[in-house]
Assembly symmetry: C2
Homo-oligomer: 133 residues x 2
DNA sequence: GGTGTATATTACGTTAACGTCAACGTAAGG
DNA sequence: CCTTACGTTGACGTTAACGTAATATACACC
């Protein structure tokens, strides 16, 4: 696999996908919608460390329930390219909105964790009293 | 709206939906798939405090990116009805899995918040240097 | 030289979670 | 009595995010 000559940091599509537990279809789909843009050796896709990072960020977003468009927006925040003042301001706005969502999630997770603890305690209690039969 | 005679804690579909910012279609859909089961006054749905709570939990789940099936599972954890030992054990297992997911999310949120802070700092910096023009 | 194994493109299929009509019933108000 | 507001049940439509199958190319191995 991993070519020896150009070994710097390149990944075949299957290697990269195996690493992250996604299918090749997924990687190609992300390319279709412009979330990834690996270079090509002939026809074959060659993924760089940058591509890998982007995929990692996308999947992190998915674990948080973000849409691919949300992830795209967030990833774009890292390499702004924005020069216009209006763009910068709306970017800051977007950042704050995402942060608000995340803080709401933090709150929700805290509550849900409490609920789960109670539920677990109930189960364990039920198991004890049930063990007496 | 809110009937005066039976005012204990009842909600019409529109009232409940307005409160949570969802459409009536959503509430009816949740009923279709068995996530809500309001009582009826004639044909008309009457939502109780319990129904309200369930809706609240569903929406909390959504904010965390859970599927409706995940939310159903979690809500079922609160009123176990489980009597069988095997059921109790698999329930505990489910609880732990959900908790693992939540801890992963906590980790992800922490990292993402850091990233957003950096991005914001970059923006503000760019605004300063841009302001000199 | 056949037999895999990885790659590609194209294209139709699928699932969740609703949106969006349409068509109708009913109770209240002017 | 007519309108307005809110309620009901269908039922087809829609979007995101892939799954899946068909077909074709290229390279390694025995």
């Amino acid at each position: 696999m991993t070519n020896i000559v150009t070994a710097s940091t390149e990944y075949s599509i299957t290697d990269l996908c195996k690493e992250f537990g996604v299918t090749t279809r997924t990687a190609r789909y992300y390319e279709d919608i412009g979330l990834l843009s690996p270079s090509r050796r002939g026809q074959t896709r060659v993924y760089s460390a940058t591509d890998r990072t982007r995929l990692r960020l996308i999947l992190r977003g998915k674990r948080l329930g973000l849409s691919l468009e949300d992830s795209r927006q967030i990833i774009d925040m890292y390499e702004p390219g924005k020069t216009n003042i209006d763009q910068l301001n709306s970017l800051i706005d977007a950042i704050r909105q995402q942060r608000d969502k995340l803080n709401q999630q933090l709150d929700d997770i805290g509550n849900l964790l409490k609920d789960l603890n109670k539920a677990e305690a109930n189960c364990i209690e039920a198991l004890k009293t049930n063990g007496d039969k």
